[in-house]
Amino acid sequence: MLKIENLTKTYANKVKAVDNISFEIESGDMFGFIGPNGAGKTTTLKCVAGILEFEEGQIHINGKNIKEDPVGCKSDIAYIPDNPDVYESLTGIQYLNFIADIFKVTKHDRERLTEYYSTQLAFTDALGDIISSYSHGMKQKLVIISALIHSPKLLILDEPFTGLDPQASFTVKEIMKNLCAKGGAVFFSTHVLDVAEKICNKIAIIKNGKLVALGDIHKVMGDKSLEGTFMELAKNE
């Protein structure tokens, strides 16, 4: 589903935000990406989503190269940023229609999926309201719905649970699990280690742009908790 090979991203100040990282995510994987602030998580996610250009390495999504076929790659993924910055002057439904138009979702499908996910996230009543009137959590819900209405194969989420109420947080986790169960994959960053420990089958821990742990979550953790493993790695490296 996603293959990252020797990815390196350097910013203008010559700092390597991501330094030669490689890993693979397969269909059905729930892949947690963990690391301290400024470790390179968001930069990696943005490179995969086709938002940031990178100098070295390759990213393949469903066999397509993000540099050679960005449109094809982006058609298969949905990206949810850590901060839900969206077009504030649109209404919720206008934004969803906009995204659906770009992803060429049929009228029937967009109606069905919007209704389904809006109900799941208790968002139906807010669809007709202008986005500038939404709270942070409501904007986050809108972005999540917009990501799901085009049925992505790979869902990329940056800190998806920030600002969500407990019920919405639970629903999002269920949606992520369902996507993986149906043959899709989820690649998400989080600081909530308990959640990662409960729902991920694979994890990667990144520090200073380099991977310090990677693989099956149980193998990475050993007999410790994920928090214990993370703290140990953070201290040692």
């Binding site: 938002i51 990206y79 940023p81 910055d85 077009y87 002057s89 770009i102 007709g128």
Partner: protein, 535 residues
């Protein structure tokens, strides 16, 4: 008191970005901005002072020099009055730092006082720019100036902003309340802004006409009545010129009492008013939900249009050229003046008056269309939302087409309507109208694509408010300058050539515009895409 000073200091440092001077990475920019601002201030000061100086001799010869005092009072008074109405919704109501300030252990009236004092300081600055140069001319030209006059002027200088703040706040509050209840609430602000801009232009042209001595004499009879016809003007002149203490006290009361009342009443309900104005009118209904399908380009265009109509500052700055064109086209139709005689005066440029009319129309159309380049800010305005476009499965060319569509919708429909009005108003031939129409369309495409081209080269994605992009970004400035260059240079060249046919010249110009448009599009579709991907 110390809280008041602290709040005021923080607000002023933040508003005027004074820390830019301390920050080594921003110091050059801050110093540059400071000198630009200083230059503008000096130009305004000299322009107003110079205009007053030019009319002062005629006024003095007619023993009406005290009319300058009326101007020294009226100009800042009305300028502040209009500005306070305009600024009030964001300074005293629903201001940005409301939540932060209200959470501080500071009395509400201290917060209100800090906001009002900031308004007053800005009022003094405007008064210094608009009224003081005129008073200075009065002082220079007056033969029997008393020191008491200057002292009274200073006292009135200090209290002058109080009344505009009080009345402006009440009107601003009413406007904000009405507009908050309207579905298309920005319409009030947009119409008001255009009316204000046209008024300022009208006043500017009038001042230039006044400078003609004969015109002054013709106007003197009406101007000399101003002092007696408007109560405040009479009190002001009586105070400063005739040194009448009763008038001075009355004037002070007229300015101070409404201000005290305003502070007392508004201070009591400051929190309540602001809380109610910040409430969001969420409909919580599903009646607005419609599912409609569009192509990606149309979807992008609709998104652009939606933002455009919701951003007052964006419309005011990029649609004003077309409003001017429309106003001029209507004026040609309805104002009764001898067009043939007017154009017959210009003999050299073209072979006949008909050609001259076409040339003039082309110049005005070109000027107004080149002023209307929303695309020069459209990439920048994506700002934090750029991730949405960049993560979409569409080629950047489609995004560009949607943005160009906005530029075209701003210029072309109204441009075509204006060409018809001008065709009738100026009495152009049908062929000349077709040529004007072709020029309008080519200028519309050029303006739109030129704006996008420049914005791709000079994006400004980090900003706190759209005003920074629309009014202060390099891209917008360069686009307007480049547009003017593309209109004025061909006109200057055209006037220096011996033309056998103006129509042919305009057609050639239309062809050149089309060629430039195609070359720019070629750049946008190749290197522009790469630049966009790197943003």
């Amino acid at each position: 008191m110390s809280n008041l000073f602290t709040l005021l200091k923080a607000d002023i440092v933040n508003t005027y970005k004074l820390n830019g001077f301390k920050d080594p990475s921003n110091r050059k920019k801050a110093i540059g901005m400071f000198f630009i601002a200083l230059t503008i201030i000096i130009i305004c000061f000299l322009y107003i002072g110079g205009s007053a100086f030019l009319i002062s001799d005629v006024l003095k010869s007619m023993n009406l020099l005290n009319i300058l005092l009326v101007f020294a009072f009226a100009l800042p008074f009305f300028a502040l009055f209009i500005m306070d109405i305009y600024k009030m919704p964001s300074v005293l109501f629903s201001f940005r730092d409301y939540d932060m300030l209200m959470s501080l252990p500071v009395q509400n009236n201290v917060i209100l006082a800090a906001k009002v004092i900031k308004l007053m300081l800005s009022g003094y600055m405007w008064q210094f720019l608009t009224g003081f140069p005129i008073f200075l001319v009065y002082c220079i030209k007056s033969d029997n100036l008393s020191i008491l006059s200057i002292i009274i002027y200073i006292i009135l200088f200090i209290i002058l902003p109080l009344l505009p703040i009080s009345i402006g706040s009440v009107i601003g509050f009413i406007v904000a309340k009405i507009s908050a209840k309207m579905r298309s609430k920005n319409i009030i602000m947009i119409i008001g802004s255009f009316a204000l801009l046209i008024l300022i232009m009208g006043i500017s042209f009038s001042i230039q006409n006044i400078i003609n001595e004969q015109a002054i004499k013709n106007l003197v009879s009406s101007i000399s009545n101003i002092e007696s016809s408007f109560f405040l003007f009479r009190l002001y002149v009586d105070s400063v010129y005739r040194l009448d203490i009763v008038s001075l006290l009355l004037l002070i009361l007229i300015f101070v009492i409404p201000f005290i009342l305003f502070i007392y009443l508004f201070g009591k309900s400051f929190k309540k008013i602001n809380s109610s104005m910040m409430e969001t009118k969420a409909s919580r209904s599903s009646k607005n939900i419609k599912y409609q399908e569009y192509s990606p380009v149309v979807a992008i265009f609709k998104k652009e249009l939606n933002f455009y109509v919701h951003c007052v500052i964006y419309i005011v700055n990029t649609f004003f050229g077309m409003v001017l064109l429309f106003a001029a086209s209507i004026a040609i139709l309805v104002i009764d003046f001898d067009i043939e005689a007017f154009f017959a005066e210009f003999g050299q440029l073209a072979t006949n008056a008909g050609d001259m009319k076409l040339m003039a129309a082309v110049m005005v159309f070109g000027y107004c269309i080149m002023l209307s380049t929303p695309t020069a800010a459209s990439i920048s305005l994506e700002g934090k939302n750029l991730w949405i476009l960049k993560s979409m499965p569409i080629h950047p060319k489609m995004i560009f087409k949607g943005k160009i569509g906005l530029g075209l919708i701003v210029t072309l429909p109204l441009g075509v309507v204006c060409s018809v009005l001008v065709y009738i108003g100026l009495g152009l031939t049908f062929i000349q109208w077709l040529i004007l129409l072709a020029f309008t369309i080519s200028a519309g495409f050029l303006s739109s694509i030129l704006g996008l081209f420049i914005n791709i080269l000079l994006p400004k994605l980090e900003f706190k408010s759209p005003t920074e992009v629309v009014k202060q970004s390099a891209s917008v400035g360069v686009a307007v300058f480049a547009g003017m260059f593309l209109v004025l240079i061909p006109m200057i060249l055209g006037s220096s050539l011996v033309l056998s046919s103006t129509s042919l010249y305009v057609l050639v110009l239309t062809g050149i515009y089309t060629l430039i448009t195609l070359v720019l599009w070629q750049y946008i579709a190749t290197k522009g895409v790469k630049r966009f991907n790197k943003m």
